[in-house]
């Protein structure tokens, strides 16, 4: 209802209930779009307008230069995701949308960790890097920079492992995901 039919003030609890703070599993949407300026803005704008928070976002070229692939993850219950994919379909530049099922999807992201480590802790950090099949890509006397790839859970696990040593910074690309099997995503 657009306008209030009562003078009564609205408690914050009521406001939150009415706006429906949503929780649910994370959805990975794989969106094939025309490779044109402004397309990402349209998609981001649509999410903002419908009150959805994009958790991760990754954009890149596809095998066909006319198209780009946007992979984004959102937290939401199934119903509003359905509404958002329908709304996304209405964008003229959007060709295809897949709400990827986790069990039928291979997903990866890349992360860089800069860890402060001097003396004895250095070998412990290197050990973790090995366990997680990480690669040391830069090193100084007082730090190690480690590259880790994998599913989001693996990246997060590595973060938990090295954080106690002093995480100077961390950068993540956001997930890209591809459906399993022979067919196109």
């Amino acid at each position: 209802m657009g306008e209030p039919g009562t003078k009564a003030p609205l408690s914050l609890e009521e406001l939150e209930a009415a706006t429906g703070l949503r929780t649910g599993r994370t959805h990975v949407l794989s969106i094939l779009v025309e490779n044109r300026p402004g397309v990402l803005t349209r998609i981001a704008g649509l999410f903002a307008r419908r009150g959805f928070n994009i958790e991760t976002l990754s954009v890149g070229p596809t095998a066909d230069e006319r198209f780009s692939r946007i992979t984004l993850t959102v937290d939401g219950a199934v119903h509003p995701i359905d509404q958002v994919t329908k709304q996304l379909h209405k964008l003229i530049n959007v060709l295809k949308i897949r709400d990827l099922e986790p069990e039928a999807t291979v997903s990866r992201e890349l992360a860089l960790f800069k860890v402060a480590c001097e003396g004895p802790t250095r070998s412990e950090v290197l050990e973790f890097a090995e366990i997680f099949r990480g690669r040391v890509v830069d090193t100084t006397k007082r730090s190690l920079t480690i590259e880790v790839t994998g599913a989001a859970e693996k990246v997060e696990a590595f973060e938990r492992a090295v954080r106690p040593y002093g995480l100077v910074e961390m950068m993540r690309t956001g997930e890209i995901a591809m459906s399993r099997g022979r067919a196109e995503t």
């Binding site: 657009g2 039919g5 009562t6 003078k7 300026p37 359905d82 209405k90 003229i92």
Partner: protein
Amino acid sequence: MRAVDAVMECLVAEGVDVVFGLPGGANLPTYDAFYDAGIRHVLVRHEAGGGHAAEGYAKATGKVGVAFATSGPGATNLVTPIADAMMDSVPTVFITGQVRTELLGTDGFQEADTIGITMPIVKHSFMIQHPVEIPRMIHEAFHIARSGRPGPVLVDIPQDLSRGEIDYEPAVADVRLPGYQPTTDGNQKQIRQAANALAAARRPVIYAGGGVINANASAELLELATADRFPVTCTLMGLGGFPGTHAQWLGMLGMHGTRTANYAMDGADLICAVGARFDDRVTGKLKEFAPHAKFIHIDIDPAEISKNVPAHIPIVGDARNVLHKLVSEYRATGADPARLDDWWAQIERWRADHPLRYEDSADSEIKPQYLVQALYEATGGEAIIVSDVGQHQMWSAQYYHFARPRQWINSGGLGTMGFGLPAAMGAKIGRPDDTVCVIAGDGSIQMNAQELSTCVEEEIPVKVFIMNNGYLGMVRQWQELFWDHRYSHVEMGNHPDFVKLAEAHGATGLRLTDKRSLVDDMRTAIATPGTVVVDVRVTREENTYPMIAPGAAARDMVG
């Protein structure tokens, strides 16, 4: 030729016969090309007027309405009409000038990020980046605007690109957009299921919206309704989609709909929604909306289906196609019309107990409802009525019994005050043989009253009836009913003098205050050549009833 000359070729190829607009710096090239394009141009006094005129033209004719504006303020003045066209699914193309490319992003004179500002309120938009793209994009714009669920499309052309020299091949209207293929046919299995559900229903209601008008599906709607004795109600946007004098007509539904229509929705066991979107003005409290009903939902836009109310039988498709098939599927079921006898008996009781009513004055005072009834009589129910937004809009919807589609033109979704006069201008140009009357409020009319000069200069003989109560009436009503009579800034006072205002613009101005001669006086006004403004003084504090109070269920209507 110059790209702008190609734009004109495109407009001609698209069948455009009128453009509403206002020139400025950045669209000087466009206007130069227009000089000998052979298309009528209506010079509006404000770009918002041009935008709404394009909408009125589109709503009256079903063709794409076109408006031009320059960059910066010209384009931002179009924002309201664009949003309005989006909400009401009006096929429109807006062509705006933009600063030359070297100035883009530099805060150049009259620069605004038109594409960015309008992105959430357009069906699609094109930022021209190379002159050769222009013809193709103009054709794509028209295709997108008119097909599927119609809507506004914006084309923003930097002025240097518009002067680019290009080769133009007369385009065949063959637009291919890989990401845009609206479903128009409707799934046959679903349609059969819908027919079976209708055949089994004991308390069915057909609930039709603006989609029926957009799809030119009113004949098919009538056919479906009369394939049995299905009761029909329409949304504000759907009025005229079903004859307002038909025996199966329940009246409009929703916040200010008839009790019969709202009670029927409340009691229905099956609701067949056609081109309607379960807006909050229709449903009232969503949780208590039509609690016993199953829903068939026919819509061209898949995103509307199950957006507000989960559909049991969704059908994505063009209303005309789907209804046509549904009628034959329904006839094949051989349903027994007698099963609806009890339902009709109930509906007749509601009709008898709760007709639309108001307390008429004992003297010469003009009740606002009577104004609409008098206009209905004076025009023989045949005029195109273009409304502004507010109480007068609801009374017009209630008391003018629209007989045919495109006879009722208003701003439903966005609720834009100031829509009426410019939209009527567009409607009159599109339908020159029809009488076009505006019903406006004294608040609404002032939001685009400058277009009176346009009407006079361009010889557009619209008849404007101002329902003058000296208030922003709908807001006053809410303050009275729900905010303890605290009238906060709703009183408009006695100015302007609308008769003098009309005369200043070169129109005829009249003032009517006597109920007893109102019908005749209205006939005189309508017969007066040229643009006529009639200031009708009505009861100051009249409320629009019946009403579903905010947050209430339909069965709890008041008034």
